[in-house]
């Protein structure tokens, strides 16, 4: 990954761009000089890279690796990891098992490459035995993961990075900043002249080329869950990449995408994911949460 930040002036705003968490990251700064924009950009870059290094499952030198190779032995985790595990436990309970950080092992049998290579039911069953937060012994600060199970923060890592970045940037400037990590956004206050940030909700049918709606964001977060690029098709049935941890299979009749706004990116992200996991009931679920949302369904 390129280790650099770029800082350019575009459309009356400072725009910082870098790569982190396997995707493009942007921070827009309004109403500040170049030095301040650079400082804000550096803060964002450092924090995004820090979180990525600490929680990525692709690295072999961090707490996630230690946890996933603990072979059933108890591990004592640091304050930040403990807070995330507490949060994961709470979300598991609130979602009645739909949100489960131990479900990452399903990637061993599911490969969403646009082909028709579905795994066999037997293969899925074998992996299902290694999923389930209820099998994990977690008592702050000690975690005990049964052999064969894994923790994967991939579902909340980017949103966490957005919220943490916003928290740190706030000490530099508390308005006129928009953090955008690959479509998960947080706005710290509106733009300088009082106008809101204009955010387009991507049309999954025409990614990058069209939007199904625009929202005016003055403060708060936007997160999107979608299957635009990852799916399997067999016998005319489209299998989205959102897997139900309780069954091991993709959710039936899942929307193409769900976008939610909330006061934090993590909250928006969890609600968007849960919306997807509710399949045909996505709209009903999101309405019950009384949160602004957009559900896009394909043909």
């Amino acid at each position: 990954m390129k280790d650099t930040l770029s800082l350019v002036r575009e459309g009356g705003l400072w725009c910082v761009r870098f790569k982190a968490m396997a995707g493009p990251c942007e921070v827009f700064v309004d109403g500040a000089g170049q030095e301040m924009a650079a400082r804000i950009g550096q803060t964002a870059f450092d924090e995004a890279r820090r979180i990525e290094a600490k929680f990525s499952r692709y690295r072999d030198d961090n707490i996630v690796h230690r946890i996933n190779h603990s072979r059933g032995a108890p591990i004592e985790v640091d304050e930040e990891t403990a807070a995330l595990l507490d949060y994961a436990a709470e979300c598991y309970a609130l979602s009645e098992g739909l949100f489960d950080v131990t479900s990452g092992v399903l990637r061993e049998v599911w490969r969403f490459d646009g082909t028709d290579n579905l795994p066999s039911p037997a293969a899925v069953e074998r992996v299902r035995g290694r999923i389930g937060w209820d099998k994990v012994q977690w008592r702050n600060p000690v975690l005990r993961l049964p052999v064969g199970m894994e923790i994967d923060f991939g579902g909340i890592g980017k949103e966490y990075a957005v919220d943490r970045t916003a928290l740190l940037v706030r000490s530099h400037q508390d308005s006129g900043v928009l953090v955008n990590y690959g479509g998960d956004l947080y706005a710290l206050g509106p733009r300088c002249d009082g106008w809101a940030w204009e955010v387009g909700v991507d049309d999954p049918q025409k990614t990058g080329k069209g939007s199904v709606g625009k929202l005016a964001l003055r403060q708060g977060a936007v997160a999107t869950s979608g299957d635009a690029r990852r799916f399997l098709v067999k016998d005319g049935v489209r299998y989205g990449h959102i897997l139900d941890p309780r069954t091991g299979w993709p959710v039936k009749d899942a929307p193409r995408s769900v976008t939610v706004t909330a006061s934090s990116c993590m909250e928006a992200g969890i609600l968007a994911t849960l919306g997807m996991l509710h399949g045909s009931e996505a709209e009903a679920f999101l309405e019950a949460q009384e949160v602004p949302h957009w559900v896009v369904r394909g043909s």
Binding site: E47, D163, Q289
Partner: protein, 441 residues
Amino acid sequence: MQLKRPKRIRGALTMATSTLLSSVAVAQTPTRGVEVDVSGLRYAETDRVTVNKYQVQASKALPNEDVVRVGVVYDTMTGASPNGRYRLQDDTSSSSLIVTSASGHSFEVANDQDQSADLANSVWLTRFEDQRRAASLEWERAWRRNVTTIFGAVRSTENDYLSNGANATVVVDLNDKNTTVTAGAGTSFDTVDPEGGVPKELGTLVCASTQSSWAETVPDWIDCYPSSVRYKAGEKVVQNYLVGVSQVWNPRTVLQVNYSRGEYNGYLTDPYKQISAIGQIDVSDPDVGEAGVVYEKRPSYRATNSLYFKLVHVPTKDAAHFSFRYFWDSWGIHAQTLDARMHLEFTPRFYLQPHLRLSRQSAADFFVASFDHDDAKPVYASADHRLGEQVTVTAGAKLGMTFSKDLRIGIRGEYLNQKYQGHSLPDMKGVIVQFLLTSTL
């Protein structure tokens, strides 16, 4: 498939999220580079000692978040320091007072304020030139979330002095980091080896020659035919212990209490310090003279105790620091020190720290200014003014400037005045000027 109305979980989710985001303290981005602190200090006493001290310290956070610090200090000390002896203004019998002190040269300096033959006016000063080099290494690790250990080693060498030491400290945070408990211990092995070895304690340096009428005034116990018995080197072992608690009283105030203890065993005498035996030939004759000079002798054990209280109050961006230290030891010394410092932030880039320190010390049990003819041989004796009764006032200020997050500079100036009681040493006045620089490379 849910047929019932979906539960509203949003409220609980919002709360869980804000708990998560507020519980994780703003993490310190580990220093990507090496943080370097450079300092140059000049300390000058009027007519006395001048010290130039240069210090560099580098610290780096390792990938596993341990911190390693390396420090190097280079000092030069030149000038002249009272060695405990008295020099009399009118004394013309200098031929019987040849002096070659253990470290090199002796010369006399008279206080030019008062020309009378008063004892109060002159002291012998030993001139010296010394260089000290010290290197230190420290390794800090956070083991669990709230326990940190620090291990360190220090080695220091001077022209005639060597010190090797190691220390270990444990810091534990409790009560959500509102309470911090610190415990530490250290030990060091020190050797002093002046040219020719350390002198015999209470041995005679020089005596009035038998031809002189002063000879009769020499105290009986002083051996006027000094044996030049010298020992090889003086060694001592030092152990120190520290226990402390720091408590957040309210969001703007922190209190701290520390107790530390030192145990010194071995050669604790200063090989360069002497004591005069003053004689008076005729009771009716006001003239007094130095009849002899002996080396000092201190006990081979010393236990020191220090109780320290500190209060830091931060009402706004400014801060006030107050501290009080009470010191007492097995040599009978009691000392109290009061220190006040204000941190005033004028702009985010500049701050000023005015400082005032008052300190008072009582003399050690075996402290003597000089001996008389009638004095019996003491068990221990020292005329070192640093063990005597004194009051010190220090006042100054530091100015700090932040150029960028990678560069901070400070300048400090202090004036000190030390007055001695029960001793005829004139006041010592000194000035400290220090330059500091902190940078991240």
